[in-house]
């Protein structure tokens, strides 16, 4: 544990190294612990927002050195290291991945990139997940970008998207787009065989709340890019909870409607046929799990983002 106004990456690395030695000694089953790491995951969050539970769920599938930067305007710069361990079902050996927590006031955020640079695991991808909307507005934010291969954010409304498009450097992911995967999959699998995109003549997207959520805008852009003659129509349903409510695709011999049902279900209606797919709630773990599988360019997302901004 170290707590000081100066953080030395080499000291933290030494503490991590000592942590592994002590974990090996603590383990009583005689099988030792196994260290796993497939990336560096930098998470920036507010002091009161603890991403620990999500990280714990992610580690078995995406073991990482997690560097959690918590913005705490009442705190000086400090850091501590710890390990996240789990025992896979049916196995005798614990698997651990390492975590570094850095607390800093927003004003001192400028000191953080140099610390992160020293802590990044060599030769493996680096992902930055921003859970903190104000990070965008901090001038130090852009100093973090050159360190990372992928930036994950979560936009809320369509108005958030222009500044996302202005960012340069890492590949960008927006969890509002990730939330659409279920919808997009269901649309793709529900179209009748031989249906061509050009057969679709009308697209209607209904969303809850007054402001258009970025999700609805993305869906419209994605569909428009495939049905080139169609401009999606958007219908706001202010009395419904924020989010995507339904999408209707109509055309020659085609009448397909998908809508969010109760209990996280997605219902498909095609003529007289209807089917319901039950999904669990989409939490941060599931969204990150999907995004961390994609470390390169996502051309379909980029096209949708361009589509939203061009429309």
């Amino acid at each position: 544990m170290s707590a000081a106004s100066v953080i030395q990456p080499s000291k933290l690395l030494k503490e991590l190294s000592e942590l592994w030695v002590s974990l090996g000694k603590e383990e009583s089953g005689g099988h030792g612990v196994l260290r796993a790491c497939s990336m560096t995951l930098i998470v920036v969050s507010e002091a009161a927002d603890d991403p620990g539970e999500t990280l714990a769920a992610l580690m078995p599938e995406h073991p990482a050195r997690a560097i959690v930067v918590r913005l705490d305007d009442d705190a000086g710069l400090s850091a501590r290291v710890y390990a996240q361990c789990w025992m896979p079902f049916g196995r005798r050996q614990q698997i651990c991945s390492e975590q570094v927590e850095i607390r800093t006031a927003a004003a001192q955020l400028a000191d953080v990139p140099s610390v992160c640079l020293g802590l990044i695991v060599p030769d493996l991808p680096v992902v930055l997940w921003s859970r903190c909307p104000r990070l965008f507005d901090l001038p130090e934010f852009e100093r973090l970008l050159p360190l990372v291969d992928k930036l994950i954010v979560a936009t809320r409304d369509v108005d958030d998207l222009p500044r996302l498009a202005r960012l340069t450097g890492p590949h960008i992911a927006d969890l509002s787009w990730t939330r659409l995967t279920r919808w997009r999959e269901r649309i793709a699998s529900s179209l009748p065989p031989g249906a061509r995109a050009c057969d679709i003549k009308r697209v209607v997207i209904e969303f809850g709340g007054a402001a258009m959520p970025s999700r609805a805008a993305y869906l419209g852009a994605w569909l428009a890019a495939r049905c080139s003659d169609v401009r999606p129509e958007f219908i706001a349903l202010p009395d419904r909870p924020r989010g995507l409510c339904a999408v209707t695709l109509q055309g020659d011999g085609l009448d397909l409607r998908l809508f969010a049902g109760e209990d996280e279900t997605l219902e498909v209606q095609r003529g007289e046929f209807s089917a319901r797919a039950a999904f669990g709630p989409l939490n941060d773990y599931l969204l990150l799990r999907e995004e961390l599988r994609i470390l390169g360019r996502d051309a379909v997302y980029e096209e949708a983002l361009r589509g939203v901004l061009g429309s």
Partner: protein
């Protein structure tokens, strides 16, 4: 050729099946209940099935759709490896389960099936696509296929495909005859001969390991590899399948299909492209390159074994001949080991030792690739003579089950004074690096068949090539009175198998 769906996002979407009906012959059987329905349920749960999906089960027992659903629910609950059934999800999934009772040898059954399929095409919007799954006794394969053809069920508005379970014939001539029967009704591209070993994630990973990395393939040949050992050991006995097993034996049950397919995956040449025809061509080419033993070579290069009674962990374990339904004089091989050679430029002269057996000390399947030792032992004078030669060579182990992964054994300096070397193991563990669950082999293979990807299925020329490899051994063994039982339950097999390797200066490793 169908146009690709412009809405599919290959980066994010998991591959999913088009609308279809899966017709299962033998829907009351063990395979359906243990493997097929749990796999289909899981595929649906993972959003891999289309909303337009249905299962139509058939067997002789007269039960209703609802009774079939209830029975399948019990099966999935009992055999699913992914925790308890999700009730809400099951209620949606089970709406797509249907049942048609009838005797497979009765022509009228196929008219009833045709009517049900038409009805499902409308009500479930399956678009006329049908996958027939023969999960019956092998003797029914030919007759069922003939009746499907006679009823015109091999053709329809959508595609029609057929999955055939192993064994595909009991020797070369019966495999050819069965194939002739099936190909009169279904074209080769619609016949999916299942070998569930090829659907295992770790067997598929062999290809990723070999062809996705640059550092291993240059070593993957006779210049660097001394020999290869493939082991598929089971700790259990015949578990009530004595009657069937007595007719099959280990060589037919495991080596002719599973292990020769595994060997072909490890030894094949890189395909030009990763497409079904190219991959299967290479696999078939490899199997055709396996040297076929002359009868006089069989005793030197193949060993049959049968377990006798023993005590394991304080419990008395019966010998094979004491198992229920087994002839007390049975000459069945419950263990088989063979030395194969591959006559091509890459592998000439490298022995491939394959062994499989029941009632061995543990359940394990792995492939051990032993590399040649370093040309000079520089550190010989410093205490390393105590290291047996078999521990000095580098060993690459591809573990198929149960602890799926890859290990590389190499020598390292022991801490302290002097250059004392000790073997150490560098391990990649599938479960550690990818904590996500792996799909079962049946999930992978069923989805592939629905999608129309036969890469992991066996083609007729592969079936024939592997029968050609094992037939001389079967022929000699059938004419030999074997000294059975020749290994104790719970041991690593007969002494003759050790002697077979000793003749080449090698020994079996203990997995």
């Amino acid at each position: 050729m169908a146009q690709p769906n412009p809405f599919v996002d290959e980066l994010r979407f998991e591959q999913s099946a088009p609308p279809c009906t899966v017709v299962i012959f033998g829907a009351n059987g063990d395979l359906t209940q243990r493997k097929l329905l749990p796999a289909l349920y899981r595929l649906a749960y993972e959003r891999r099935l289309s909303p337009g999906f249905a299962v139509l089960g058939n067997s002789r027992t007269g039960i209703s759709d609802d009774a079939f659903r209830e029975k399948m629910r019990e099966s999935v609950s009992e055999h699913s490896e992914d925790g308890p059934i999700d009730d809400r999800f099951w209620s949606d999934f089970s709406r797509g389960l249907f049942y048609q009772a009838g005797d497979m040898s009765d022509g009228a059954l196929y008219d009833r099936l045709a009517a049900r399929l038409e009805e499902l095409e409308r009500s479930r919007q399956t678009e006329g696509n049908v996958l027939f799954y023969l999960s019956t006794q092998p003797s029914f394969y030919g007759p069922v296929v003939e009746r499907l053809g006679a009823a015109g069920l091999n053709k329809g508005r959508g595609w029609r495909r057929l999955i055939v379970e192993k064994p595909f014939g009991h020797d070369l001539s019966s495999a050819v005859a069965l194939n002739d029967t099936i190909q009169r009704v279904f074209p080769e591209q619609d016949i999916y001969r299942i070998d569930h070993y090829l659907g295992k994630e770790t067997v598929q990973n062999v290809q990723a390991f070999r062809f996705g990395n640059g550092i291993f393939e240059p070593l993957w040949n006779r210049r660097y590899i001394n020999h290869v050992q493939i082991t598929a050991a089971e700790s259990i006995g015949v578990e009530g399948r004595g009657g069937y097993y007595q007719e099959a034996g280990a060589l037919r049950d495991m080596i002719q299909n599973h292990l020769l397919q595994v060997m072909s995956t490890v030894a094949m040449e890189p395909p030009a492209v990763f497409e079904p025809a190219a991959v299967r061509d290479e696999r078939a080419k490899l199997l055709r390159s396996v040297r076929v033993m002359k009868p006089e070579e069989v005793h030197e290069n193949a060993v049959a074994g049968q377990y006798g009674p023993s005590r394991i962990g304080g419990a008395q374990v019966p010998g094979f001949r004491q198992e229920k339904g087994v002839d007390p004089e049975a000459q069945t091989d419950t263990y088989a080991a063979a030395t194969f050679y591959i006559d091509n430029w890459r592998w000439a002269g490298v022995p491939w030792y394959i062994r499989t057996g029941k009632r061995l000390p543990k359940r394990v399947t792995d492939i051990a690739i032993r590399f040649n030792s370093a040309p000079l032992s520089l550190f010989r004078d410093d205490g390393n003579l105590s290291l047996p030669p078999q521990l000095q060579a580098n060993l690459l182990i591809l573990r198929i089950q149960p602890e799926e992964g890859i290990s590389l054994r190499f020598l390292s300096k022991h801490p302290g004074e002097g250059m004392k070397l000790r073997p150490v193991s560098m391990d990649f563990n599938y479960g550690t690096s990818f904590g996500a669950r792996s799909p079962s082999a049946y999930e992978t293979l069923l989805l592939d068949a629905m999608v129309g990807d036969p890469t992991l299925y066996t083609r007729q020329d592969m079936v024939e090539a592997s029968w050609k490899v094992v037939e001389p051994i079967l022929g000699v063994w059938s004419e030999t009175r074997q000294p059975f039982p020749n290994y104790e339950a719970g041991s690593w097999g007969p002494a003759a198998a050790d002697e077979m390797l000793a003749r080449h200066g090698h020994e079996w490793r203990v997995p």
